[in-house]
C-alpha cells in the first residue's frame, strides 16, 4: 500500500503531507478545524475585553497592576522561537531527513515546555501576590479562561508532538505519518499566532490601561 511503502530521499514526494488522499483530507480538515478554533478564541477574546477590569470592589487588582512586560516578553520569545524550530522540523521532513526532524521537534517541545513553566509561574504569582484568582472577580474568570485555554492548547500540543515522536521513533517517515507530523506543526503555529494576540490584547493593551 502506498502509505506504508518505504521511501528514499529520491522517491520522497515534495509535498509528503498531501501525497495521499488521506493526507489531503487531514490537511484540509485540520485547516477547517483551525477555522473553528479561530472563532472559539475570538469569542474568548470578546468575552475578555467585555470583562476586562470588571471587579466587584476597588481593592481588586486590575490589569495595569498585574502585568509585567519582561516575563510575558520572555514567554512570547520562547513560543515564537518554538514556532521557528517547528518550521525547521517540517523543512527536514520534506527533505526526508527523519533524524533532524525529530531533533528540531524535540527543541520545539522543550521550548513549549519552558513557556508552559513560565505561565504556571505567572499564574501562581498573580494568585499569591495579588489575590487575583479564577473566582475573585469577573475579570479573573475571563483572564484565566482566555490565557488558560491557550495554555491547555499548548499542553495538548506538547503531548501530541511527543506521542508522534515516540510512536514513529523506530520506523522513520512514511506517507502515513508525514501528514500527522505536518498537521501537528500546523497546530503549533496556530497556538503561536493566538499567543501573539494574547500578548497584544491582554498584556500590552493591559499595561496601557
Amino acid at each position: 500500500m502506498a502509505a506504508e511503502q518505504k521511501y528514499t530521499e529520491a522517491t520522497w514526494p515534495s509535498s509528503p503531507e498531501r501525497a495521499t488522499l488521506e493526507g489531503k483530507n487531514k490537511f484540509l480538515g485540520f485547516w477547517l478545524f483551525l477555522g473553528g478554533e479561530t472563532v472559539l478564541f475570538a469569542s474568548l477574546f470578546a468575552t475578555y475585553l467585555a470583562l476586562k477590569d470588571k471587579v466587584p470592589s476597588a481593592d481588586h487588582a486590575l490589569a495595569k497592576d498585574l502585568f509585567e512586560i519582561p516575563l510575558t516578553f520572555m514567554a512570547t520569545m520562547l513560543l515564537l522561537t518554538s514556532s521557528l524550530t517547528s518550521v525547521y522540523a517540517m523543512y527536514h521532513m520534506k527533505n526526508f531527513d527523519f533524524k533532524r526532524m525529530q531533533a528540531w521537534l524535540l527543541v520545539t517541545v522543550l521550548l513549549g515546555a519552558a513557556f508552559l513553566g513560565l505561565e504556571i509561574y505567572e499564574f501562581n504569582h498573580y494568585v499569591h501576590e495579588f489575590k487575583h484568582t479564577f473566582t475573585s472577580s469577573a475579570f479573573g474568570s475571563a483572564f484565566y479562561t482566555l490565557v488558560g485555554f491557550h495554555g491547555a492548547h499548548v499542553a495538548v500540543g506538547l503531548g501530541w508532538i511527543l506521542t508522534l515522536m515516540i510512536r514513529n521513533a523506530k520506523r522513520g517517515l512514511t506517507l502515513y505519518n508525514a501528514p500527522k507530523f505536518y498537521v501537528a506543526s500546523l497546530y503549533w503555529h496556530f497556538i503561536d499566532v493566538v499567543w501573539v494576540f494574547i500578548f497584544t490584547v491582554v498584556y500590552l493593551m493591559g499595561m496601557v490601561g
Binding site: L21, L28, L32, G36, V55, T135, S141, L164
Partner: protein, 623 residues
Amino acid sequence: MSTYAQKKGIGATIWDYLTTVDHKKIAILYLIAGGLFFVVGGLEAMFIRIQLAVPNNDFVSAGLFNEIITMHGTTMIFLAAMPLLFGFMNAVMPLQIGARDVAFPFLNSLGFWLFFFGGVFLNLSWFLGGAPDAGWTSYASLSLASPGHGVDFYVLGLQISGAGTLIGGINFLVTIINMRAPGMTYMRMPLFTWSTFVASALILFAFPPLTVGLFLMLFDRMFGANFFDAAAGGNTIIWEHLFWIFGHPEVYILILPAFGIFSEIFATFSRKRLFGYSSMVFATVLIGFLGFMVWAHHMFTVGLGPIANAIFAVATMAIAVPTGIKIFNWLMTMWGGSIRFTTPMLYAVAFIPSFVAGGVTGIMNAVAPADYQFHDSYFVVAHFHYVIVGGVVLGLLAGAHFYWPKMFGTMLNEFLGKITFWLFLIGFHLTFFIQHFLGLMGMPRRVFTFMEGQGLETGNLVSSIGAFFMAAAIIILLINVVITSVKNEKVGNDPWGDGRTLEWAIPSPPPFYNFKQLPLVRGLDPYWLEKMEGKKGMMPAEPIGDIHMPNNSFIPFVLSMGMFIAAFGAMYQVDDKPWAIPVLILGLLIVFGSMFIRSIKDDHGFHIHKEDLLDEDDKEVKA
C-alpha cells in the same frame, strides 16, 4: 446478493452497528436516534398543549412545565432536527457526489456517538433530580439561579453532543471538497449537497461560540467563576450574544438542508431540472453568509440601543431577498413540468405556502419597533414554528419518504404516507396559525398557564386540538414504517422512476462500497442525462480495481462513553460527593486512553480485491 452481506445473528448486527464507520449505517443510526428523540420532544409538546388547552389548568405544575418547554426546545433542535438532517446528509450526500465514503469515516462514527451520549446524558436529567428549566436559550441570570442539576445537564449534554456536531460538519466539508467523483464540479453538485456544504460551514463557525458560552456557564455553575454574576463584575448579556451568534446560524443549519431536500424533490417529481440552479446556489451561500450578521434581532428588547437595533433590523430584512429567490425558483421549476403528487412531493408543495407564511412573519419581526410587541410573545412562537415545522419538519418528513427506498431498499406505503401528510398539515396550521393572534392579543411565551377573561381561551383550545392531529400523523407514520419493514418488498435502483442524481443510479440500498467503479459525471443531474441518452447507468470513470475501505472501530463508542462518564463526575463534584472526582478522572482517562490507542495503532483499512468485485458481477448475471 453480495459476498460481504452474509446473514448475521442479532448480536453480530448490533456489534456491527456499534463499530461501523460506513456512512450509510451511521445514517441509519442517526435516523433511529434522532427519531427517538423526536418522539420524546413530541410528547413534551403534547404535554405543553394539554396544559394550555384550558385556562388555569393543573395538568402539570409550574416548575415541571418549565422543564418540559426547555427540554422540548433543546431536544427538538439539538437532538431531533439536526441529527435527522445529519442522517440524510450521511445517507445521501456521499452518493450524490459519487464518493465511496466520507473523508473521515472514523470521525463520522465518533460524531454520532458523541451526539448520542450527549443526548442521553441530557435526557437522564428527568430521572436524576429534574430537567433543565431555564428555556432552551438558558439566559444567564435565570440559568445561574436555577437550583439543582438541571442546567448542568443542559450545559454538559450540549457540550458533548455539540462536539459531535462540529466533527460531523468538518467531515462533510472535507468530503465535499476532496471526494467528488471525476467530472463532479462544484456547479454540478446537487442542491442537497450544496446545502449540506453551506450548513456544514455554518456549523464550523457557529458552534464554537456556543462551546465558549457553555464553558463560561459551566465554569460559573460548577467552578465558581463570575462571568455572569453582576455582583462580581460579570455581565449576563455576554451569554445572550454568544448564544445567538450560534443560535441564529443554527436556524439556517436546520433550514438549508431542508431546502436542499425540497430542491431535489421539486426537480424529481416535476421531471424538470431545477430552475435557476446557479442562483439557487448563490442564494444558499448568501443566506448562510447573512445568517451570521443578524443575531442581535433576537435581542431587540435587551436595550442595545437604536443604532444596533436599526442595523440588525435592516440586515435581517436583507435575508428575505435570497429566500424569495428560492421560493420563486421552486415555483418556476414546477412551471411547465409534469408534476406527480407522490407523498414527498405533497410535502414539498405544502412547504411553499407554509414556509412563506413563516418567512413573512420573520420580516415582520425584523421591524424592530414592532418587534417590541412581538418579542417573547406567542407571535414569535408561531413564527418560529412556521419556519421550523413548516420548513424543517416538513423537509424531514418529505426526505424520509423520498430517501426511504434508497436507505432501506423498500418503499413506505404511499396511501398511509398521504394520510400522514394531510393530518400533519392540517394539525400544523391549526396549532400554530392561531398562535400569531394569541401573541398579538397579549399572551407572553413560556407561560405555564393563562387566566380566564383575558380573551385567550378559544385560541389556546384550537391550538391544542391541532397538536393532536400532528400526533396522530406521526403515529400513522410509525405504523407505516413497521408495515413497510415487515413486508420488505425490495425495489430497484430508481424506485421513483424520475431520479436525476447519482444516488438513483446504484442499487437500493447501495453496496457498502457504493460505487464499484466511480462514475463519470457529465453535467448537472448526471443520472438523468444518461437516461435521456437511453443508457441504463452511469459511464464508469475508471476500470474495475481494488477498493480501499476503512476498518470498523469500537473506539468512537468507548471515547464518547468516556465523555459521558466524565460529565457525571464534573457535575456531582459541586455537591462534594466523594466519588465525583474519581469518576471525572476515570472518564477522562477513558477519553484520553481511547485517543492514545487510536493514535498509536495504525489503521490502514483493507482492500476489496478486484477479483471479488468481478465474482460478484458473475453472480448477478447468474441470479
